[in-house]
């Protein structure tokens, strides 16, 4: 154990320690001053972000092989910290408005972010499992953060039951992988596969169960049933955070795991993942068509985007694996920015007691609040993948990877799905701009900042996406 071990996961440690500090501070903070907890959390995340950006990717492992600090994990660290910062911005005014400004929210949020970061670093199946739980358990609690709002609690319970169900699959999968390779460390697993001592039957069963388990987390169809209900019931700022970050964490785990097992089991597993991708894109987009509640619509939208990302995951099983990972990272960033922005609009438009969440309530909102409206337009276009948004580059990159690895069918399905998605995303625009209505939105400085900032980022980064592409391409995984 040396200082290097701690440095390797410094961003994680910073975030977790801040979480504990916020908790202690919160205990002593008087009722009206909980904003300090938000501030402290923001500082901690900023420090974590800085640590992640300053860190140099290493090729070795730390903590006796438990974690790595490769470019991939540091990239995700930065992503999670940034998403967390925005998540706090979303939450601050919202909970003040809802009279639920509590320090616990920020502590748990930080713990969850720590778990997500750890997921990116994990190099041992026990770390995957613990990171999964560390990110999930706080989210279960936060989903039910409205203690007196039944919808919130029921969402939390549903999330909890299905989340634990998926953990069960992950766990059994890990047991099978352990049975097949006599190791829970990725290095050991790879070594066992290489020298032929691995029992591929167990390994296959285990890998399949792991895929199923994490498919729950990224809400791939048919393991998506929890998503719309939880997204609808949970506090909106949390949903915004969750839909951006949890997905990334789930994919981080899937990428690292599949990169390890694909060499041995590619021909068995790749078709399964392909099937998931196709189903997710089709079902997610089709069901989104009939949604009338903005939170549910965005929930299905997030399912659909998981489908596009799954294409990249299939492509990990090809010679273009490096590009596939970079494309997924790029897509995740683009999606996270647009998604957080869209949720900031939702938070701004949400009224007390959960009103203001139907599409009808958005009538005329775009004309009344042109900045908010234009921002939402940008996000919707980015979701569709119209050029001059980050979403376009993301899709371009993903489809390029798909074609490169010969996944023509999936690419065509993805194209068709994008077309379908144009319909429901544009419906939001239709309501906001083409209809008259009495919609009102909150003019909060943080929310406006997030909405406009995200929109600007989506457009400006789309003009010069080269740098982000470069960074994503350099965020390579350490292959054990």
């Amino acid at each position: 154990m040396s200082i290097n071990d701690f440095l390797a996961i410094l961003p994680v440690l910073v975030v977790l320690v801040t979480g504990v500090l916020v908790m202690v501070a919160d205990v002593f903070l008087p009722e009206g001053r909980k904003g300090i907890a938000a501030l402290l959390s923001g500082l901690g995340l900023a420090a974590g972000l800085g640590a992640a950006l300053a860190a140099v990717p290493s090729t070795g492992t730390a903590f006796a092989g438990m974690v790595v600090a490769d470019g991939f994990s540091l990239f995700l660290d930065a992503l999670f910290a940034a998403v967390g910062l925005v998540g706090i911005g979303l939450a601050y005014d919202y909970f003040k408005r809802m009279r639920l400004q509590r320090g616990e929210y920020y502590t748990l949020l930080l713990f969850s972010i720590g778990g997500m970061m750890l997921m990116g670093h994990a190099n041992d199946l026990v770390m995957f499992f613990l990171a999964l739980e560390l990110l999930s358990i706080p989210l279960y609690i936060l989903s039910g953060f409205f203690r007196a709002r039944l919808a919130s609690q029921e969402a939390a319970l549903k999330y909890f039951l299905l989340g634990a169900f998926s953990s069960g699959f992950v766990l059994y999968g890990i047991a099978m992988v352990f049975g097949g390779t006599a190791s829970i460390n990725l290095e050991g697993i790879v070594a066992a596969v290489r020298d032929g001592s691995a029992n591929l039957t167990f390994l296959l069963v285990g890998a399949a169960l792991l895929v199923v388990g994490f498919a729950f987390k990224v809400s791939a169809v048919p393991f998506h049933a929890w998503t719309p209900d939880v997204y609808e019931g949970a506090p909106s700022p949390l949903t915004g955070f969750m839909s951006s970050a949890t997905k990334a964490a789930g994919f981080a785990a899937l990428i690292r795991l599949l990169l390890v097992v694909f060499p041995a089991l590619g021909e068995n597993l790749a078709p399964v993942v392909s099937g998931l991708a196709a189903l997710t894109m089709i079902a997610g987009n089709l069901i989104a068509l009939v949604q009338t509640n903005i939170k549910r619509l965005l929930a299905y939208s997030s399912i659909a985007h998981a489908g596009y990302l799954l294409i990249g995951l299939v492509a990990v099983n090809s010679s273009a694996a490096g590009d596939a990972v970079a494309a997924m990272l790029f897509y995740l960033v683009g999606y996270a920015i647009a998604n957080l922005g869209a949720w900031s609009v939702v938070v701004a438009a949400e009224q007390a007691e959960g009103r203001g969440l139907e599409l009808e309530d958005y009538s005329g909102l775009g004309r009344k609040y042109p900045w908010l409206g234009v921002a939402m337009l940008v996000f919707m276009l980015s979701f569709i993948g119209v050029p001059l948004t980050l979403g376009f580059w993301g899709k371009l990159y993903l489809f390029r990877v798909a074609l490169e690895s010969g996944l023509f069918g999936l690419a065509v399905i993805g194209i068709a799905a994008s077309l379908v998605s144009a319909y429901y995303y544009l419906r939001v625009v239709v309501y906001m701009f083409f209809r008259d209505g009495e919609g009102v939105a909150r003019r909060d400085v943080w929310l406006n900042l997030i909405a406009i900032g995200s929109a600007a980022a989506v457009v400006l980064m789309a003009l010069v996406p080269g740098d982000l592409l470069q960074v994503a391409a350099q965020a390579v995984l350490r292959v054990p």
């Binding site: 154990m1 504990v20 908790m23 202690v24 205990v27 002593f28």
Partner: protein
């Protein structure tokens, strides 16, 4: 391996048997003349009303769950205790961090009044 625990099993079975036999004897040879009054629950001679079981207060739950969360650490403390010499100071520090985190939880519970009965 199993042989080592055979005595345990035998004791367990004997205990089970004794209980069953005792109940069986009572059931077979005891007098049974049930009336309505007799099979009603005993409430100090009062006429019973309402359901037999009352719900307990949530406070019990809170205390119980806190007990379990703090109880879990026993597993780790025992493992540490057996190797306390081998793992030395680094082990001590690790354990201190672990317990420190749980102490923060304790602080939270305490300050939030979760341990008060009211």
């Amino acid at each position: 391996m199993l042989q080592e625990y055979l005595p345990l099993l035998i004791i367990f079975l004997i205990a089970l048997l004794v209980g069953i036999i005792a109940m069986l004897l009572g059931y077979l040879f005891g007098p049974k003349r049930p009336t309505r009054r007799k099979s009603a629950p005993y409430e100090s001679g009062m006429v019973p009303y309402g359901p037999g079981r009352r719900r307990m207060s949530v406070r019990f739950y809170l205390i119980a769950v806190l007990f379990i969360l703090f109880d879990i650490e026993v597993i780790f403390v025992i493992s540490w205790a057996t190797v306390v010499r081998q793992v030395g100071v680094p082990g001590l520090i690790a354990m201190a961090i672990f317990l420190g985190l749980l102490e923060v939880a304790h602080l939270y519970a305490w300050k939030k009044g979760a341990l008060e009965w009211e």
